[in-house]
Symmetry: D2
Subunit: 360 residues, 4 copies
């Protein structure tokens, strides 16, 4: 299906080269002030053509809200919205209409649905994530009022990785460079690496790290819908995502029990905390009040500006020669998408948790 | 909630030290032969006390089916079942009844529900995964008839990791040693490592790899419910799981686009295949007919046979002195759980996919 | 929430006096030809201003599809669409912005959401049903290919009721008069009755009967999601619906067991049928292959062209003086809505049922 | 599927002549005191053999809770329970194993699942409703704490109907006679009518009325999941139910707009109320704080103690000669089932509504 979330549920529609893409947010509580410019800001962070590093398609990605917001406040009814595809030029993709592009979803869609929609990547295009960014931006605003903050950053491009702990980084620095890496030294190496790749027509993968702070203890469900499971599903639903880990992640598989214990303490307000946070803010599927942090791995963009041998839907061998605009590394643009999916997941868990307690 | 799956839906109940745990499988199609001994076999692979390496609690974990199977065949109605907790001795845990054990879910459950259930880990115990093993074993049988096979194995314990590609390993070798590692040389190193840890009271993490072969192209959904997202959620819902990756996973974040291309080919039957399978059998959230393979990271068991300083629910500092039976490494026992969760996920996707196509 | 259906799921958004209303159809199988004019035809049957009998608001209710249909065929991806509110004049409703109108949802929305959306009935307006008509019209087309036909008609307006069995009526006659009553004699009495009411500013209720033929045996679920329960929920979700009955309905409560037995027979093709069909085509929640027929009761329209004493949201007594356009009887316009909700329900059950059977 | 509810979700399993039937209640909030005897009391009101009027099968219907309740209080984890089928004698039904009984679900199950489960009605037996009574009894207890009360009564048996308004009846009188009719004069006529029918082997239908008081304004959803739609689905999912109406129901279809207006007023506490309550406590799908009342129609029991001509699954004509124990009228036993389904629906709506509001 095309939805995310249970109580706060986002349903997405639209092909990248149709008239418009759009979405519906169901379950948004009433009375939350919505800053539409802040929504547009997140969209702008995702859209193509932001810098030399990314594709030059001049999509404006301007969101138009159709319902559910009145006088700047959510009404409790579904929020419908569309983003027009201003720059859609189906002919650009005409030579692709019968090709199965390697590492794209052309073949799997065809295998599933039995038909080809010749308009570019259609539904499988990462353009669809713009819908999630809109919904996520609204969730982010609601979470902020609740004291929950979410920020993500590029933590790796190819071999270049941030080694500093996130507490040594400043969220304000993320957008200080086009690669969205808040470690300035690493950022410049990443950028020159990507620029060089761009010339060769090649692409590279990377990782995004995300931190969620201010989450109250108690969000998440104990067996199904564990908080880390919901986050994992949300992240693995982003185009090109290949891995997810939270807390110490894969590293914890190599460690000893006494090395990863998060011992308890209480603060001056008699609130329970842990001294360390190897666990990443979740125990038994439920948040414990510490920072939730996780990392997502992205594979290199599949479209290369090279001759690519492949087959078409008549199973004939062909050679693809992609031209024009393309991203050498999509990771910087995926940063707001990671934030959006995290926000959708956490706000949904927050609303769901309200049903867990019985108070008169 | 306490369910997995949408069409093939498993709902789990029961505390580790109550009378029984149990489950309901809803959406099992009618007419599938069910081999109850094969179900019990998977349960036996999960249960404690299988070897020197794991806990000596003599739980028999015997499943009792109450409905939904008649004359050895599924009837289409829900399959209800229970597993009695033969060995439940609540007093064993009496000193734990007020403690918040580090890296356990005691505190988060208390924060969420506002009450303590004094009976051991209660619902957060990994014992709950026995329910999933039952449901997964039934899904495995249905999948086998469809030509889909699933197998998992211990691919790492601490620093000891299998480096061979899975195609060089034999599924038949998984159970040839208690650590469930089909690489004999690595297995013996892992085993002596765990034995040594056991003496010290410490624990260690590890990884499990899983391969799903014979999946037809077309399973999975394009935006929500992508096949890798569902698998990630299923795996991250297993106790102690900290990371998930499929295909090249985190490694792909360091690679170039032209290094990971899975070029298309056709076989003698004019079926579409890829020459390599870096992608791990899924494109755009939909299976492409190649092997699906993934890896799950598990943190070390939280219960250490050491003095552990912590607090209780009156926020007083206490020292825990766990005694008796315990697992130094839970990874070998988690192998059938990984298989079960994979089977539930894939069978659910298979059944759901039947609704995607419109044929008279 | 704002969705209908499970596999074939329609999500609706939009307020009656916003920019547009719209919807998303998720789960539409690929490869079904979509006749957009036939969709518009059903919308036209629902829209206001069709005849002297109904409101004169000149809404054109023109549907604009944004995704999911390519070259006249469904692609398997979500079908997004909008209907612009051409004739929206918020000022018409300005005096209502603080009133709680009796028998409207003004107060209950306010009690639920804590805010007023001053634009007319907003979300609670029956205009929302246009979205369901679009989705239902698409389901109707898919069902037709499967040999399933659905038709509804006005079976009662006030005291005027059709007494003939539906088999004595012709579906072709439904639209031969504005009241959508296929019994010509009854239709003219209904029409003159409504015309008289219109002069007095009063309104009247009525009933709609619906027949679904060609449903294969086996649709519906045995306990939750019984076919009659899903149909009841679908019908009771239509604005102003107050009652639902199928088969003999309330009459069967007065009858004896031997009077209502539907004895079995087999036809020349060795297909099982029942001689009578008192049961209305469903046994144990599952269709039996006979006609499914049911009746829905609608209360009179709440807006009367009379002085109505009420209170406003400051709890002050006020007198409402509705003016201008209004429906004396909404039943004829609800006929395509009943057909739409029936189609959504049956097509959803059809698709779900495909997951019940296990065939290699 | 075999579940009811969304947040408060009950999943049912078990065949009437297997070892046991059972259920899982997921989403029960923690901290609610559970009176197990009160649960058993509702089960006793449903079970067969309560009086001369109903079947003499001596099923004890004793509920055994397996999880989710600790020291008499809900823990927030799923409540699993079973009811053993003490009196199961499969041989009683051996002659039925191949028959398609008229007005039973034998044929439709066979059409759906392709197999016969020879053990009596199996899953389609009304015995399954015992599971709902358990879950409903728990919901009733939670609702009572919230000030919400639910009671139902037999309002009609054949032609004998209560004409008094429910406000003239005393909930305490419902169980003062075996027919569960709180109008003593009508009750004795109903009872003698049923006794006479019992001799002839015939059966009769009836109606049950239900009143829900103390519901706060704001429960229910505006488009999908309207409160009346959920109630209708819950009631129509009860075996033998053929119709549902709330408020004035079908009668409102014959009435004028000015006859059914529920004018607003405020009480001494400045709370909004309506002077009359023709609407039945719901406007626009959302409760308005007045009593919710509705009526359900039940067809006569299908099993008659008469020779019944039918066919078997080889499509051969046969004559059934049911013997022994049977109900001439199942309505009195369905009273606690109606209460249970109403309680499940309202408690689910209550919990869901907690997610609608955004308060820090």
């Amino acid at each position: 299906m095309n939805s995310f979330g249970n109580i706060f549920r986002v349903t997405s529609f639209g092909e990248s080269h149709g008239i418009a893409i759009g979405g519906v947010i169901d379950g948004m509580p009433a009375g939350v002030p919505i800053d539409i410019e802040a929504v547009q800001h997140q969209l702008n962070r995702r859209r193509p053509g932001q810098s030399e590093l990314t594709t030059q398609r001049s999509e404006t990605d301007s969101v138009e809200f159709l319902s559910g917001i009145h006088n700047g406040v959510s009404t409790g009814t579904p929020i419908g919205f569309i983003i027009r595809n201003c720059d859609h030029r189906p002919e650009d993709y005409s030579d692709l209409s019968s090709a199965f592009r390697p590492n794209h979803a052309d073949y799997t869609y065809y295998a599933k649905y039995g038909i080809r929609d010749a308009r570019g990547g259609g539904r499988s295009s990462a353009r669809e994530t713009a819908i999630r960014v809109v919904a996520g931006a609204i969730a982010l605003q609601a979470l902020k009022i609740l004291g929950i903050n979410i920020w993500a950053y590029t933590s790796g491009i190819g071999k270049y990785k941030i080694t500093k702990h996130y507490s040594k980084l400043n969220p304000m620095d993320v957008d200080s460079n086009p690669v969205r890496c808040p470690d300035e030294a690493k950022a410049s190496r990443m950028m020159s690496y990507i620029s060089k790749l761009k010339e060769s027509g090649n692409t590279v993968g990377g990782t995004i790290s995300c931190i969620i702070s201010g989450v109250p203890a108690g969000l998440g469900e104990p067996v199904g819908n564990k908080l880390q499971a919901e986050l994992a599903a949300a992240m693995m639903s982003i185009n090109a995502a290949k891995g997810f880990e939270y807390g110490l992640g894969f590293k914890s598989a190599e460690m000893l029990g006494d090395e990863v214990l998060d011992l308890f303490t209480t603060d001056s307000m008699q609130c329970v905390h842990t001294i360390s946070n190897f666990s990443g803010g979740i125990q038994g599927g439920i948040s414990n009040g510490e920072d939730i942090y996780f990392k997502v791995a992205f594979k290199p963009v599949a479209t290369l500006l090279m001759d690519i041998p492949t087959i078409n839907d008549s199973l004939e061998p062909i050679v693809l020669r992609p031209r024009g605009r393309h991203d050498s590394c999509v990771v910087p643009r995926a940063v707001p998408v990671v934030e959006a999916m995290a926000a959708i997941t956490i706000f949904d868990a927050y609303l769901r948790n309200k049903s867990c307690t019985f108070k008169i």
